[in-house]
C-alpha cells in the first residue's frame, strides 16, 4: 500500500489569508466557516470594546462576516492580515451603530416631546438599541458639564436653541456654539474609542 504522501508530487500548501480570500471569492463557504472559527472571538471582542455586553455586538459580528462573504474582494492581503481587517471593520461598524443611535435617540426625544402619550418603538427595538444607547450615554458623560447640559437639553429633552439658552441663562448664540462644540467632542470621543481599540 502506498503511503499518503510518499510518492505524491502534488504539494501540500499551507493556508494563507490571500488563499482564504481567494476561496471566499470562489464561493467556498467552508472557507468562511474556517475564518469564523479562527477570528470570530477577536471580531466579537472588537465590537464589545465599543458597545459593551449584548446583542448589538453579535449583530456587528454578523454584519462583518456577511459583508466579507458578499465582498471578499474588499480585503486586500497586501495591506494587512485578515484578522486586522475584520477587527477594524467591526470597530467601525460598532462606532457607526453608536453614532446612528445618538441620532435616533435625539429624534425619539423630539418625537416624545411632541407626542407625550405615543409609543414609537417595539419592546424588541428597545432591547436591541440598549447597547448602543449605553455607549452614547457613556460618551455624553465624558463631556464637560456645560456641554453635557446643552446636549441633554437639546437632544434628550428636545428643547430648541432658544429654550436651551433661556433654561441655562446663556445667550442663544452661546447655546448654539456650545451645542456644536459638544457634538464635535462626542464625535471625537467616539473616534478615540475607535483609535484606542486599534
Amino acid at each position: 500500500m502506498r503511503s499518503a504522501a510518499a510518492d505524491a508530487t502534488v504539494r501540500f500548501v499551507n493556508s494563507s489569508d490571500a488563499l482564504l480570500a481567494a476561496r471566499l471569492a470562489a464561493g467556498d463557504d467552508y472557507a468562511l466557516a474556517e475564518i469564523f472559527d479562527h477570528l470570530a472571538a477577536t471580531v466579537y471582542g472588537a465590537a464589545l470594546r465599543v458597545l459593551g455586553e449584548g446583542a448589538a455586538a453579535q449583530d456587528v459580528v454578523q454584519d462583518v462576516f456577511v459583508d466579507l462573504w458578499r465582498h471578499p474582494d474588499r480585503y486586500d492581503p497586501q495591506t494587512g492580515t485578515l484578522g486586522s481587517y475584520l477587527s477594524v471593520r467591526a470597530r467601525h461598524r460598532a462606532v457607526d451603530l453608536v453614532r446612528s443611535e445618538l441620532r435616533r435617540m435625539a429624534r425619539q426625544e423630539r418625537h416624545r416631546r411632541l407626542n407625550p402619550n405615543g409609543r414609537d418603538k417595539s419592546p424588541l427595538d428597545e432591547v436591541a438599541a440598549t447597547d448602543a444607547a449605553n455607549a452614547v450615554r457613556a460618551a455624553v458623560s465624558l463631556l464637560p458639564e456645560s456641554q453635557r447640559q446643552v446636549i441633554e437639553l437639546a437632544y434628550f429633552r428636545g428643547l430648541t436653541y432658544r429654550e436651551v439658552a433661556r433654561t441655562t441663562g446663556i445667550p442663544e448664540g452661546t447655546a448654539k456654539s456650545r451645542l456644536r462644540l459638544a457634538l464635535a467632542k462626542l464625535e471625537t470621543v467616539l473616534d478615540r474609542q475607535l483609535l484606542e481599540s486599534l
Partner: protein
C-alpha cells in the same frame, strides 16, 4: 494591563450558525464573485474560434512551419481541426461512423493534406468549417440533444464546450511554439469550461482507474471560477475520503487540456496529497489529445 492584552471573549453560542446561515442567504455558495454573466455554449465556441482565427491571421510564413504537437506544424494542426469540424458536422447529422472514430486517426488525413496548400487556404477552410458548426447547431436547435463524437457521448451543449477546450488548447499550442504569450478565455467561457470539467471528472476518474471513494471539493479561483463538490470513485464503496483542492481556474483548465502536469498545477490541498494527485490526473485524462 491594557484591554488589548486581555484574551478575546468567548463567542456566544449559536452565533456561528446564525452568521453562516445569514451569509449563505446573502450570497449562494459555489458561485464566484464578481459573478460572471452566463454564457451560451455557442457563444463560447464562437469566441474561441474567433480567438484562434485572430492568431492565425497574425502568423508569418515561418510561424506556419513551426512544429507544434505530434509532429504537426501549425498548418497541419489546423488541418486536424478542419477534420474535427467535419466530423462534428457528420455527428450533428447523426452519422454513426464518427461516433466510434478515433479523434486523432480520423483527422490525420486532413492534417497531412494541408502540406501542399497555401497557409491562407487552410486558415480560411478551417474558419468556414467552424462557422458551419455554429450554423448546424443553430439549425438543430436542441442543445440538450445527445450525440456521440470520437467515442464520447454527451449533449450538444457539452460537446460545444469540449470543443472550446480544444480550440483554446491548440491556440495556445501554436502560441507556445511560435513564442507568443498564452491567452486566457473570457470569464464566462472559463466558467462553462470549469463546470464541464468538474461534471465529467467522475468519467476521468474511471479512465484512470481511481478506486478510492473520494468526496472532492474543487475550489477554482479567479474570474470565471467557483466551487464544486464532486463524488469520485465507486459509488457503493463505504468511507468516502474528503479532499479539498484549491487552484487557479485557468491552470485547472490547462490541466484538463493536458497541457499542465498535475504536479505543476500548484494546488493547495487539504487531505491526502496522493489522492489529490489522482483527482488531478483524472482531470487531465479528460483531454482527447
Amino acid at each position: 494591563m491594557t484591554a488589548r492584552a486581555q484574551p478575546p471573549p468567548a463567542v456566544p453560542g449559536g452565533l456561528r450558525e446564525r452568521v453562516l446561515a445569514a451569509s449563505r442567504q446573502a450570497r449562494a455558495a459555489g458561485i464566484g464573485v464578481p459573478e460572471v454573466p452566463p454564457a451560451a455554449p455557442t457563444d463560447a465556441f464562437s469566441a474561441a474560434a474567433s480567438a484562434m482565427y485572430r492568431l492565425l491571421c497574425s502568423l508569418s510564413e515561418a510561424d506556419w512551419r513551426v512544429l507544434v504537437i505530434r509532429g504537426l506544424d501549425a498548418q497541419c494542426l489546423i488541418g486536424h481541426l478542419i477534420g474535427v469540424e467535419k466530423d462534428m458536422h457528420r455527428c450533428l447529422a447523426g452519422d454513426a461512423a464518427v461516433a466510434r472514430a478515433d479523434h486523432v486517426r480520423s483527422t490525420q488525413a486532413e492534417a497531412l493534406r494541408q502540406r501542399a496548400r497555401p497557409a491562407e487556404a487552410t486558415r480560411e477552410e478551417w474558419y468556414q468549417a467552424a462557422c458551419r458548426t455554429i450554423a448546424l447547431v443553430a439549425e438543430l436547435g436542441d442543445l440538450d440533444a445527445g450525440v456521440v463524437l470520437h467515442g464520447v457521448p454527451l449533449p450538444v451543449r457539452d460537446l460545444l464546450v469540449a470543443r472550446v477546450f480544444e480550440l483554446w488548447t491548440h491556440e495556445n499550442d501554436i502560441r507556445a511554439a511560435t513564442g507568443r504569450p498564452a491567452s486566457v478565455p473570457d470569464p464566462p467561457s472559463l466558467r462553462l469550461m470549469a463546470a464541464l470539467a468538474t461534471a465529467y471528472l467522475p468519467f476521468g476518474a474511471a479512465l484512470v482507474g481511481m478506486r478510492d471513494p473520494v468526496g472532492a471539493r474543487l475550489v477554482l479561483t479567479g474570474p470565471g471560477g467557483g466551487t464544486w463538490d464532486v463524488l469520485l470513485g465507486p459509488a457503493e464503496a463505504p468511507g468516502r475520503t474528503s479532499l479539498r483542492i484549491v487552484t487557479d481556474v485557468v491552470r485547472f483548465c490547462r490541466l484538463v487540456g493536458n497541457r499542465v502536469a498535475p504536479a505543476d498545477v500548484q494546488a493547495q490541498v487539504s487531505g491526502d496529497p496522493w489522492l489529490a494527485e489522482s483527482v488531478l490526473a483524472a482531470a487531465a485524462a479528460l483531454a482527447l489529445d
